[in-house]
Each structure stands twice: as structure tokens, then as C-alpha cells.
């Protein structure tokens, strides 16, 4: 990472910190309490999705994501979709399941491996992101992602959320609402789900709700055969 980038990031952090201090002192307290001011590898953010609680036809998480990240939410083939609902039906049994699919925040992300410029990167806390200043829009990461989690920005974007910079000609995907996490909040999708189908938390903390649940109920990683060690797990598949 160039010095410039680090400076910019520090600047962003400081200014965000000041903003947080002035508008939301509670959040800053959370930061202090949890020591998340610097991103640390001691944490691994993840989600557990309980498909039994996810209703077919419900799109609340998708709507929340679009609102939070300034996406248009149209379903044309050139529009960005960071999260989508997939309805699946097991061929042999006919059992039907509905679930949200987004970037799985792989521990060994193929998108990061293939990215020629290092624009795709994994943060110490396991969140996989795209550096929009470095992405050249080659779309190789989209070819490499086994979950089709990424979207290419096909046209100029309007109505951007200042926390979520986007740009024509670059690739983007679910950031696990990193700006919210850094402010001590949950991802928008997890917060929006009234059925509590999305449980967000720290997979590395044995005392966290998500870790406890993963220990007690059966859950799987999608395409676990690929060995990517995803941060998002599914229950009831």
C-alpha cells in the first residue's frame, strides 16, 4: 500500500472518528469498549443465516442493503446487486429453501488471488473489500468468485452514500457494511431482518452469540468443497 493511501485512510479514520464523536458519542464508546479502533486479526466477522427463518418472497435485507449502500435496486442485468434472494429446490427431494446470497467473505478469497492490482483485498478482520481507487475494472474477480457475489458498475452512479464511494468502471460487492461495523453497528441486512434470519458477529470470539450457535446447531459453508473457508454460514441447507 502506498504511503498516500495510508495517509488518506488515516485521514478518513480521524475525520470519521471526529464525526462519530460529535454526532454519536454512544458509538465511540462501543469502539473503546471493544477495542475496534484499529482493525485486528483477533476478530473475524461473519454471519450465520438460518434458512428456516428466511421467508420466500421477503426482500427486506435486499432493500436495506440498497438503501444503505446507495444502490438503485433495479434488477436489470447491468445493475449492481450486492445481496440477492435465491430460491432453491432440491432436485431429489423437492424441498424448497429461500436464502440471501452475498459475498461470503472467504478466508481464502479467489477474487483476491486473481486481482492483478491488489484492489481486491482482505482486511485483517476477514472483510473482503475492493479498493475503488485501485480497481482497473478487468472483471477477473467476477469470473473467479464462485458465488457471483460481485457486480460491475456499468454506468455513472448518482445518489451516492458518502460512506460508500462507488464509481463507473469498477467492481464492487458486499462490504459487510464495513462503515457500519467500524462504527460499531451491524450490517444493514442483519439489522433489517425482522425474522432474525441473519445473525452477525465475531467468529473468533468463543463467547459471541454466533460462535455459540455455530457450536450447537448444524451449519454449512456453501460450496465447502472449494475450501475457501467462508465467513458466511448457512443453517438448514
Amino acid at each position: 500500500m502506498s504511503e498516500m493511501d495510508i495517509k488518506r485512510r488515516n485521514f478518513l479514520k480521524t475525520s470519521l472518528g471526529t464525526a462519530a464523536l460529535s454526532i454519536a458519542p454512544g458509538i465511540l464508546l462501543f469502539d473503546v469498549a471493544h477495542g475496534t479502533a484499529a482493525v485486528s486479526a483477533a476478530v473475524r466477522w461473519g454471519m450465520l443465516i438460518d434458512t428456516a427463518n428466511c421467508r420466500e418472497g421477503c426482500n427486506d435485507c435486499v432493500t436495506a442493503c440498497n438503501r444503505e449502500n446507495g444502490l438503485r435496486g433495479a434488477n436489470s442485468t447491468t445493475n449492481a446487486q450486492w445481496i440477492r434472494k435465491i430460491d432453491i429446490k432440491e432436485v431429489s427431494t423437492g424441498r424448497q429453501v429461500s436464502l440471501p446470497m452475498m459475498c461470503q467473505h472467504c478466508a481464502h478469497p479467489p477474487c483476491v488471488d486473481v486481482c492483478p492490482t491488489g484492489a481486491s483485498f482482505k482486511r485483517a478482520d476477514g472483510i473482503v473489500l475492493v479498493d475503488r481507487h485501485r480497481c482497473i475494472g478487468c472483471r477477473y474477480c467476477m469470473m473467479a468468485c464462485p458465488y457471483k457475489a460481485r457486480s460491475f458498475v456499468h454506468e455513472a452512479v448518482t445518489d451516492q452514500n458518502p460512506d460508500v464511494p462507488r464509481g463507473k468502471g469498477t467492481v464492487e460487492s458486499c462490504s459487510l457494511c464495513v462503515h457500519r461495523i467500524d462504527a460499531g453497528l451491524k450490517p444493514a441486512c442483519a439489522e433489517s431482518c425482522t425474522n432474525k434470519a441473519i445473525l452477525f458477529g465475531d467468529l473468533n470470539d468463543p463467547a459471541s452469540e454466533i460462535s455459540k450457535k455455530i457450536r450447537s446447531v448444524a451449519s454449512v459453508q456453501v460450496r465447502a468443497d472449494l475450501g475457501l473457508d467462508t465467513g458466511v454460514r448457512y443453517q438448514g441447507l
Binding site: T77, I88, P116, T117, I136, A144
Partner: protein
């Protein structure tokens, strides 16, 4: 009717050709401008088909650029005089096609203005990043090689440079194959057979391009290619075509062997609409069977037949790459094997793609760059194969 058009006429034809090439390149530039201005939304590409027609052109040019050097390698590395005389022309074609292909690849990026980032922030685990090194290295090596051949003082280094080019081009085409071979999650790609398949395909495509240009060059200069030479080169082309057909067959057969790949193979070979048609008719029949007949059938195999065969091989190559690149993405990714899927993002559905005119403008623009580079070079420098002493020997 005179078989030798007067010089005056030829000059005009030359400039007309050049102007035509320039026009196509300008139309390409316009296509790029539009894509830059509006974004990729004006192309047929979308979030399911992320690589479209520009990649078909770019990969053809790059693969053929590597393959055409085979002619040079046989000359320099294996010391065959017949091929040695053709090494300069082969090198020129390689440089020209590489330039065209890389331009297309670069201008199809979402942010071509940032291409320098790819060179300064290299991610060493990325095959794409390796390819950036491989392509630029290849370019400089071939230029160097050409220099050792064209400059008498440098002649002693030709063999060494030839060896370097020979080795580099194998790695380069392997790298091109690996771009796809590393996409393990996609049914169409992720096969260890891809790098060798691309190497063999490059031999056939490169030699076909070489034949096309050589034939035109001889006709332009009112020269006759020695029948012995044309006989041998024609046989080589035939062998390459058979070998590439074999590799492509192996690739599909091994896919058929893996149960989870059967659906994909059925799609590409049987019921995938435009893709099986292109594969069987355009690639197998037009691009392989008919060229083989033109080369080997008794009574055929004359200069004109080989010329036609070469042109068909090139067309077949485009059909093959279209099926490989676009068809490979059109077939739905199996995120949940054993399940039927549906969503707002094309899960479980065949992705639709209709290339827009801008994509073709860019692709043909790349061809125009290769064409102009070749046309100008053969006129200002002497790239005509010198077979004199070989024949009289």
C-alpha cells in the same frame, strides 16, 4: 488482362488499403470513446457475461501472436533454412498481433486510464499480473530477436534470441490458458488441459495467419512460392489442425467424464442454442474439416486452397473462442449443486448476451492495428522471405 498491375496502380491500392485500415482503427477509437463515456452499459456485457466480444478478439490475437512465432522457432531453434527465411515476417506478425490484442484488452477495462496501476501495484499471486509481465516481455524479446535478424552486426545473436523467444512463448501461451484454468469454480474452465490446448491451438491459428499474409505478399510482389516449400508448410498446417482438434476433443471428453460437468457439456454441444451451432458448424466443420479437405484432398492443396483453408481456420478460431468464452459464462454457475435455483441475478438461468456494435468496433479496431503495423512494415522494410539460395542449393 495483365497479371502484373502497373506500379502506379499498386501504389494507389497500397494507400487505399492503408486508408481502409486507418478508418477501421478510427471507428474502433470511436467505439472506445463511447464505452468510456457511457460505461459498459452500451455493450452487450452485463453482470453475468462479464467478458464479451472484445475478449474474443483480444485472445485470438494474443494466442495467434504466440503461435505465429512457431515459424521462427523452427528456423532458429531447429535450424531449418526454409523457416529461417520466414522468421522476420513471423516476428513482425507476432508483434503486430500482440499490439492489437493488448490494445483491445486494455481498452475493454472499466478504467483503462488506470492501466499503469496494473504495472505499479503488481499482485504476484494473480495470473493476470503474470500475463502483464509475459506480454510486455514477449514484445521486447521479439523486437530484440527481429533486430538480431535484420541488423547484420547482430546476426551472431539470432540463435540465442530465437531460443529465448521460443521458451518465452510457451510460457506466455501457458499463462493465457491458466487465466481460465484457475477459475476452478466455473464448470467451463478450471481444467488442467487448457494450457496445452491453447498452445496447440496457437500453432494452428498462428500458422494460418502466416499463410494468409505470406500468400498476399507473394502475390503482391509477383513472386511464386516454391511448390516444395508450400507443400511442406501446408502439411504442417494440416498436422496442427488435426492436433488442435484432438486437444479440443479431449477437453470436452474429460469434462463429460466428470458428472457435475455433464450439464455444461450438453449445453455447449447439444442444446445451448447458438453455441452448439457455432461449435459444430463454424468451428468443427468450417474451421477444421473443410480446411483439412482443402489441404489433403487429392487434386486440392494448391496455393488457393491453402489460402482458403487458412482463412477458414481463422474464422473457426473466432467461433471457438466465442463458444469458449461467452458460452462458458452463459451456462449458470452451480452455486448449489443438486438444487434448482432462481433469483433476480440470473441464478439457475442461461445468461443472455447480444454483443453491441461498440464491442465489434473495438475488436475490429484491434485487428486494424495489427493490419496497419504489418502493411506499413512490409513496405518500408524487407520482410519478404528470401528463398533464393535455399532453392538453388
Amino acid at each position: 488482362m495483365s497479371a502484373h498491375p502497373p506500379m502506379y496502380f499498386k501504389n494507389r491500392l497500397y494507400y487505399a488499403l492503408l486508408a481502409a485500415g486507418g478508418l477501421v482503427a478510427m471507428v474502433g477509437a470511436y467505439g472506445v470513446y463511447m464505452m468510456e463515456h457511457h460505461g459498459h452499459v452500451i455493450t452487450g456485457m452485463n453482470n453475468q457475461i462479464v467478458w464479451g466480444v472484445p475478449h474474443v478478439f483480444a485472445i485470438f490475437l494474443i494466442v495467434a501472436a504466440s503461435g505465429v512465432l512457431n515459424v521462427a522457432s523452427i528456423g532458429s531453434v531447429f535450424g531449418k533454412t526454409l523457416y529461417k527465411a520466414r522468421a522476420p515476417l513471423a516476428s513482425l506478425l507476432s508483434i503486430a498481433m500482440l499490439a492489437g490484442g493488448l490494445t483491445v484488452l486494455m481498452l475493454d477495462l472499466g478504467r483503462p486510464d488506470r492501466v499503469i496501476v496494473a504495472a505499479t501495484n503488481m499482485n504476484l499471486t494473480s495470473v493476470f499480473a503474470w500475463n502483464v509481465v509475459l506480454y510486455s516481455g514477449m514484445f521486447s524479446l521479439v523486437v530484440l530477436y527481429l533486430w538480431t535478424m535484420m541488423e547484420r552486426r547482430m546476426n551472431p545473436y539470432t540463435v540465442a534470441a530465437g531460443f529465448a523467444v521460443f521458451a518465452w512463448r510457451f510460457i506466455l501461451t501457458t499463462g493465457t490458458g491458466l487465466i481460465f484454468a484457475f477459475l476452478t469454480a466455473r464448470q467451463a474452465y478450471g481444467s488442467a488441459l487448457l494450457p496445452p490446448m491453447f498452445i496447440v491451438l496457437s500453432f494452428a491459428w498462428g500458422l494460418a495467419v502466416f499463410h494468409l499474409v505470406q500468400t498476399v505478399l507473394y502475390a503482391w510482389n509477383d513472386k511464386q512460392l516454391d511448390p516444395l516449400i508450400s507443400q511442406r508448410k501446408k502439411n504442417l498446417l494440416g498436422i496442427f489442425v488435426i492436433a488442435s482438434l484432438y486437444m479440443v476433443a479431449m477437453y470436452h471428453l474429460t469434462n463429460l467424464y466428470f458428472a457435475q460437468q455433464k450439464g455444461f457439456e450438453r449445453f455447449i454441444l447439444l442444446d445451448g442454442g447458438v453455441f452448439p451451432t457455432l461449435f459444430w458448424w463454424a468451428y468443427v466443420v468450417l474451421g477444421n474439416i473443410i480446411p483439412l479437405l482443402l489441404i489433403y484432398a487429392p487434386g486440392l492443396g494448391k496455393t488457393r486452397c491453402v489460402f482458403a483453408a487458412s482463412a477458414l481456420i481463422v474464422l473457426g478460431a473466432f467461433a471457438f473462442l466465442y463458444v469458449f468464452i461467452i458460452g462458458g459464462q452463459a451456462y449458470p454457475l452451480a452455486i448449489f449443486p443438486g438444487y434448482q435455483a432462481s433469483s433476480s441475478f440470473g441464478d439457475g438461468q442461461i445468461a443472455a448476451y447480444s454483443p453491441s456494435v461498440h464491442e465489434f468496433m473495438l475488436g475490429f479496431g484491434g485487428l486494424a492495428i495489427a493490419f496497419i503495423t504489418t502493411t506499413v512494415s512490409v513496405r518500408v522494410l524487407n520482410f519478404m522471405p528470401q528463398d533464393k539460395h535455399y532453392i538453388t542449393d
